[in-house]
Symmetry: C2
Subunit: 335 residues, 2 copies
């Protein structure tokens, strides 16, 4: 390949920007020589960070953006008004075809709105879902949709299932990914109106491996690779995963500090436990893709480390090399 | 009080019936002299179990029911057809005022349907929610609704909030319980149509302590006492709680078995860890009440032990003594 894959990184996005964003970008360059990076944000701030590192100067470019969209700003207004923000400037580069992907740890709302209205959806795709990988006992599953598409329709969920399958197969490398719809029982007649309407449509899809309903209880066990739901339910699942894991582990820690015997035991198990938890929780790729857009947008966690940013950048390579958007066009919107 | 509180126990309900159901009933009698128990189910089977124990024969009565509703039977059909099942016979005793409460570890679907159609709702109550207590870092919270009321309306959720508050205050003993609605962001303008419609109605309620939205992430931390949501979302939260806790603990165990050092450490922490987990997870009262019915119906877990059944019976005492249904009538339906 003569041309680099061009990835825009929102240098100003996230709790620890531009420190970790710039460092993550430099680290990503070291991992792969297939990419070049455009950092959007305040040139002076970015330069000051870049000075800390030695890197291939041909492969990092700064595109100035004077504004930053904060976490508390109403997203629609922010995207509309702050044309010179690191998010809007970065997304416009993708829109104009000057870059392949955009990575940001900034405001989720602004990224979702910007994805739909600045980058824009692939023709025929009705909604652009946010699809994080969540950890399970059998490896990561794709939870699609966790975005802002509330009050979804059955036809949206069918496209989510199709896009999710393509992503899991070609980016994560799961052969014939099992697709399930989140439901409150395993039987076809169970569920709310949306699920009852969607279920038969998924059953008819010949291009996905639909395995039926999945109860929330069976998600952590890894009973499906692509977990389809509307965004409200997806958001509840994603956030409860985070909250419950954190509360349970802090309860475990509290228990370990109960007495001298348990404290000594705790010291002995610490390395093994840390490794297991890292294996289990470290399933994500540093960020969740927003699928179905004309270009890839990856939303990294607000509290991302430089390693998360690096991972988020790296996942764009596979996405671009596998030409996921072409596959989405061919398989979903052209049928 | 001269009269006993009469509690019907479905002797045939659950994975381990009639063994644990009968034992749980006998154990409950030992805990409280305020109650008497009616066991519904096959007389011969129940008698055989009862023979194993010594108990106050004046306080246990058998009412014969020849049928059992299985876990896999379609609920509406089962309740309609199996008039002589332990569930329908037991619920009819409550309906006719011959008993105060009904406890069953049988089919959730059948209990929900039977509650609404056999026992019947309090006049003015639009839906009868299933409201389990879930463990949090600050003690149990009431998750209302986890039942079968899918596609709920805003007015239903308002009644759930009111009934849940009464239950938490008078049965669990939480002063001025904090009520929150499950949402995908903390701001009032966030959410799907149902939440946006319900939020201002809850804000107007003068009889509850509404604290706003709660994100699923903050539920395990105990940020609210009464967690209001429609049944699909409630079911997802409840089931994910179970599934994720079980997967995480099994991952932790796997980690502890990694090497000799961690195995020895595991032995040392086991008692302390077990106690913490028991404190955390043991928040429930052996069963979840179905609120808003003319009489109390308590759904115990299908895999209940005799201790769970005992707890489920014991919670009926407080419910009855505090006259929860009278409070629901006075505070909700009469306004």
């Amino acid at each position: 390949m003569s041309e680099h894959i061009k990835i825009v990184v929102d240098a100003m996005g996230g709790d620890n920007a531009p420190d970790v964003t710039v460092r993550g970008a430099v680290e990503a360059l070291e991992v792969s020589d297939k990419i070049s990076i455009i950092l959007t944000g305040r040139t002076d701030d970015i330069k000051k960070e870049l000075e800390k590192y030695s890197y291939d100067t041909d492969r990092i470019e700064i595109v100035h953006a004077n504004d930053v969209i904060g976490f508390d700003e109403p997203p629609v207004m922010a995207i509309r008004k702050k044309k010179d923000s690191s998010i809007v400037v970065g997304m416009n580069l993708v829109k104009r075809g000057e870059a392949d992907a955009f990575v940001s740890a900034g405001s989720t709302g602004a990224i979702l709105v910007g994805g739909q209205f600045v980058v824009g959806r692939i023709k025929g795709i009705e909604r652009a879902p946010l699809a994080p990988l969540i950890p399970t006992a059998k490896g990561p599953s794709l939870l699609i949709d966790c975005g802002a598409n509330v009050d979804a329709r059955a036809s949206h969920l069918v496209q989510f299932a199709q896009m999710g399958s393509i992503y899991m197969k070609h980016v994560v490398g799961v052969e014939n990914p099992r697709v399930a719809i989140v439901n409150i029982g395993a039987e076809e007649e169970k569920g709310n109106m949306l699920v009852k309407e969607t279920y038969p449509l998924l059953k008819e899809c010949t291009d996905i491996n639909f395995v039926g309903s999945i109860e929330a209880r069976d998600i952590p066990n890894g009973d499906a690779d692509v977990i389809v739901c509307e965004a409200f339910v997806g958001n509840v699942i994603l956030k409860l995963y985070e909250g419950l894991a954190s509360t349970l582990l802090s309860e475990v820690k509290k228990g370990l500090m109960a007495n001298l015997r348990s404290k000594i035991g705790a010291l002995m198990i610490k390395p093994a436990l840390k490794k297991t938890m890292k294996n289990f929780m470290g399933a994500d790729q540093g960020g969740a893709p927003l699928l179905g857009l004309k270009g890839l947008v990856v939303k990294a966690h607000g509290s991302s480390t430089s390693d998360d940013i690096k991972q988020a950048i790296i996942q764009c390579i596979q996405f671009s090399e596998e030409d996921i958007n072409e596959k989405i066009k061919e398989n979903i919107t052209m049928e």
